[in-house]
Symmetry: C2
């Protein structure tokens, strides 16, 4: 690793990998009593059937009707109907750690066959032995090495295949279901409801852009070019007439906190009118959205359901929801109470 | 200027600003005998009415029919119908220099009221006196200073307004018409023909992303989030509750040559099946497109019309078309002969 890279990378990734052992140990695994395989359909009578009746559901529907009705004082032209959604904790679960970290660890295990020395070499040894405490003892530098080695050294096409294979077979460590079964059905309905009303929906996530694009288009119905995330540097290689894009082991951009409005400007070029998140990492995106001249909607998912999902907020190291919760309460943003607002949690 | 920035910036921008004096002096101003205000419409009988009949027009139409006809062996699913277009020299003219450089110079003039010292200070003095030779004598550092000062120090919203005001009023130095009158009508028809056949059309240009987005959405009918270009670094500023994105005087990414496939991967996440350019700066984009597993189409606009537009290729410092022309001939890519293939040049 280039030492010059460590400082910005560690700062950026600290939120992702630090204290995973704490989170992993303290979180209660939960059972979803409602999971199923139903497809999400938007009906005219009730566009959000997985949401319980209440002020939050009503606020969403009233907003969408208000800004899309011709002649309404709050009407928003179609081109300006931009909606941005965080992914981890907003569209799918994120406990006991970001699912992408489990991918990174599984990838290290898969690569270990070609690296026999990893058995006795940290930080790899800790990953191969599933020893989270030992992994944490490697510090940020060790964790970054795991993330970089697992996410680079291949072409973008190869990485896409690797992630697709993983997501099709890997299972959540405590729920023992495919990760894509842990997508929130009420949020999928919301995405589709907005799309049906001519909103252009984007994902703007701290997760890796290539990691998400490998599966999220199909799962969420959001095109790859509308999925924005953190990225490594890449380079074009003509490769003797078989051009490829190679992923380099250097962080290019961290799509979190202040990075989210920066990425929204770069990738979308318009301020959203609707934004949804679940943590302090989404706060700047919601602040930016709240400054739109058009009537806008800020939504926070509050994880309050220790039975069907997880319950955590201010003190959680994954998905910390502290400053965001204060600002949402202060400004009257919509805070979805998962336990009360959602009839069903998982799709 | 930070000296550390100079080296990568100068390399990247060299193509844009060097030798402008040569280009400006040697190019023949030309008169468009066909310009008008007709809107572009795609008719079923002839989707490309501004194109003369011939092999190139036929090749485009045959390709689109082939890959969009259900049951065709070459059928391409809608999600994979990605088309990428260069802008300068491909969708509008680029002589005697990139139009964005004229914007930069006009912006310096507008700013000069607040900088009385510029009258006697290079490189500003040269710009204020329209002295291109003196400007060139300032070297790359001086030229970069002009570009950076004219493209930063404001918020993205302010920059958008500045460009919109400029494009609405500025006129081309020799043709004396608004720059947006110098959009190629046949290419607009091609964009709309592809869109009508469910291609998602993107601009992938060396031009500035914020500069293009200010006007190109309306002129080309391509949404802002489908316009990709070079960019400066930006930062989010909460600004006491009125959040803004500020443009910094540092180049972030140069969307040219190898940068084009890199940007395509980052912004689009899919390899194009159709790509159009006009210079060596587009070669890697066309190579990347040519490696698509789906049937693909590579198009080069060859500037051969010294009467209605300009005639230049291998030895031009703006829009150099040398390696690209060789490779197009070798690989059988479509090289549009502007003089013969286009019934009308400007919209």
């Amino acid at each position: 690793m280039n030492n010059k890279l460590i400082s910005p990378i560690t700062k950026a990734f600290a939120f992702m990998v630090l204290f995973i052992s704490l989170s992993a140990c303290k979180q209660e695994p939960a059972k979803d009593t409602e999971s199923g395989t139903e497809t999400v359909e938007v009906s005219n009578s009730d566009p959000l059937p997985s949401w319980n009746e209440g002020a939050n559901k009503e606020a969403i529907i009233n907003y969408v009707k208000d800004v899309t009705t011709d002649g309404s004082a709050d009407f928003i032209p179609v081109a300006d109907r931009i909606a941005t959604f965080d992914n981890d904790g907003t569209l799918w679960s994120e406990q006991p750690a970001y699912f992408q970290l489990f991918f990174a660890m599984d990838r290290i295990k898969a690569l270990s066959a070609d690296h026999p020395d990893w058995k006795n070499k940290q930080p790899y040894k800790a990953v191969l032995e599933n020893d989270m405490n030992a992994l944490m003892q490697q510090g940020e530098k060790g964790l970054m090495e795991i993330v970089m080695v697992s996410h680079s050294g291949v072409t973008t096409d190869e990485f896409d295949t690797i992630v697709k294979d993983w997501i099709a077979t890997a299972k959540h460590p405590t729920k023992n279901v495919p990760y894509t079964d842990m997508v929130f059905k009420p949020m999928l309905e919301l995405v589709k409801y907005l799309q049906a009303n001519d909103f252009k929906v984007f994902i703007v996530s701290g997760g890796g852009i290539g990691f998400m694009r490998a599966w999220a288009e199909g799962v969420y119905g959001i095109p790859k070019d509308q999925i924005v995330g953190s990225s490594n540097k890449t380079e074009f290689d003509y490769n003797n007439g078989n051009p490829v894009i190679r992923i380099l082991p250097q962080l290019e951009f961290m799509d979190d906190k202040q990075g989210k409005p920066v990425a929204i400007n770069k990738f979308i070029g318009r301020k959203p009118v609707f934004a949804a998140g679940n943590s302090d990492g989404d706060l700047q995106m919601l602040q930016y959205t709240a400054s739109n001249k058009y009537k806008n909607f800020e939504l926070y998912v509050h994880h309050t359901d220790s039975i069907r999902e997880w319950s955590y907020d201010r003190k959680s190291h994954i998905g910390t929801f502290d400053k965001g919760l204060d600002e949402a309460n202060q400004k009257g943003w919509t805070v979805v109470n998962m336990k009360d607002d959602w009839k069903t949690v998982y799709k």
